[in-house]
């Protein structure tokens, strides 16, 4: 069965390592914070100027001056630091963040990502996404494998305006964990109960499938 949003986040959380500084995008990536293994420490970076983002505040703790990049009220973890936007993107662009997790509309076999604009329809802007994908070496994209109408989001060429070029190496969808290298998608894992055939059917770009594709473990 396809993974739920929570399960996608839970699988991403398995990629976290002790001592990682991590930037989580809006949507499914935000949920990753709920599944950090208890035996490791990670520090969450919020690009509006907070390193060490804590949980949501209680009603009494709410502070209008303390929000995350999704404009949600948050708290600070012990050992947090605050800085301005230029400093925040210096750490992002300068490659100091260990892992970035963000959503996308499309990803292609050359590691291109489209995530911010559907011409003539949705116009919101890229926010910090272009800086994040250009600055990070270790990025995981989370998204559904295909649209509700069964249209693949893993393509030979992105059809929408790009957020970044040649910068994505790992994609976790509701069906599969995929690595991008040498101009191809490589199937690493499949969601429990999902067959390789289903994944092939919903992957438009070239997909390399090894003889044995393990199921994700939770």
């Amino acid at each position: 069965m396809a993974l739920s949003r929570e399960q996608i986040a839970q699988r991403v959380a398995q990629e976290l390592q002790d001592g990682y500084y991590v930037n989580l995008g809006i949507g499914i990536p935000t949920l990753v914070a709920n599944f950090v293994p208890e035996d490791i420490e990670v520090m969450l970076q919020s690009e509006n100027g907070l390193l060490g983002m804590g949980q949501f505040p209680t009603e009494e703790e709410i502070d209008a001056d303390l929000i995350n990049a999704g404009k949600q009220t948050v708290t600070m973890a012990t050992g947090a630091s605050i800085f301005d936007s230029a400093e925040s993107f210096a750490m992002i662009r300068g490659g100091h963040v260990d892992l970035t997790v963000l959503g996308a509309f499309e990803v292609d076999v050359n590691g291109n990502i489209a995530s911010y604009m559907i011409p003539g329809k949705l116009i919101k802007g890229m926010g910090g996404a272009m800086d994040l994908v250009a600055g990070a070496d270790n990025i995981i994209v989370t998204m559904t494998h295909a649209s509700k109408h069964g249209k693949s989001k893993l393509l030979t060429n992105c059809s929408l305006p790009l957020t970044g070029k040649g910068c994505i190496k790992k994609v976790l969808t509701d069906l599969a964990f995929i690595e991008i290298k040498n101009g191809q998608f490589h199937l690493l894992e499949r969601a429990p109960g999902v067959t390789v055939e289903e994944i092939i059917k919903l992957t438009q770009g070239e997909l390399v499938v090894p003889d044995v594709v393990p199921e994700m473990q939770f």
Binding site: N48, P57, D63, T73, S85, F89, R93, G125
Partner: protein, 235 residues
């Protein structure tokens, strides 16, 4: 005003000299740390044809969004504008010119503008619509685009505390773009929650030195919250 004393006594005085078709840089992220009373004063003045530089454009009835219904904004340079129906309408109809700029590039454009650096190379936006028409160059085998600095005729800034000399301290994530905006204005106007005497702020704890600040005013703030998210007490 005398010597280094930057304090002005009214919002009218704070925004004096702002005229049609000027460029205004504003601090704030979403509705957090926005100079809400200075924006309201621009709205009251009715100044038109403005080019605004700000990460976002407020919501329909608060923040920079209040400048939209009277068509006071000609152009906006921003990274994310998704929270505002009137904005989207004016953008789609072509009434409002929008230059979408990556958030980190926007912050650095302001910083560079204030620091006397006319342009800088960045990998952000290479191979995307942002790179169109920009100089592209390789350093150490990687491609970068040339982005130009931004300065404003005015910068409007919200800080937490200031002394009368305009030394500023920001509070929590309300800092965001405010220090960059303060640097990049020809006339930088700052509104704060509290003004103290020079010497009362610890020089080691000042975020923005008063040299960047031209006018200072104490205000009261609504501080509207855009996404009120909580957890239950006792967890």
């Amino acid at each position: 005003m005398a010597g280094f004393n930057k304090v002005v006594n009214s919002y009218e005085e704070a925004m004096a000299g702002l005229t049609d078709n000027m460029t205004v840089i504003a601090g704030g992220f979403g509705l957090c740390g926005i100079p809400e009373n200075l924006i309201a004063e621009i709205n009251r003045k009715g100044t038109k044809g403005l080019t605004l530089v700000s990460n976002n454009c407020g919501v329909d009835d608060f923040g920079l969004g209040v400048l939209l219904p009277n068509r006071q904004i000609k152009k906006i340079i921003a990274s994310y504008v998704g929270e505002n129906a009137e904005f989207e309408r004016q953008m789609m109809s072509g009434e409002l010119e929008v230059e979408l700029t990556p958030q980190g590039t926007l912050a650095e454009k302001m910083r560079a503008g204030g620091a006397g650096i006319p342009a800088f190379y960045t990998a952000t936006g290479v191979g995307t619509p942002v790179a169109e028409g920009k100089d592209e160059r390789q350093f150490n085998g990687r491609n970068y685009i040339l982005e130009e600095a931004i300065t404003g005729d005015f910068a409007i800034v919200k800080a937490w505390k200031a002394d009368k000399y305009g030394n500023l301290v920001f509070r929590k994530t309300a800092r965001n773009f405010n220090p960059m905006a303060a640097m990049a204005g020809k006339i930088t106007v700052v509104e704060v929650e509290e003004i103290v005497e020079p010497g009362e702020l610890d020089p080691d704890q000042i975020h923005t030195p008063g040299i960047y600040v031209n006018r200072l005013i104490q205000g009261t703030f609504e501080k509207r919250i855009e996404q009120r998210t909580t957890r239950p007490s006792g967890e």
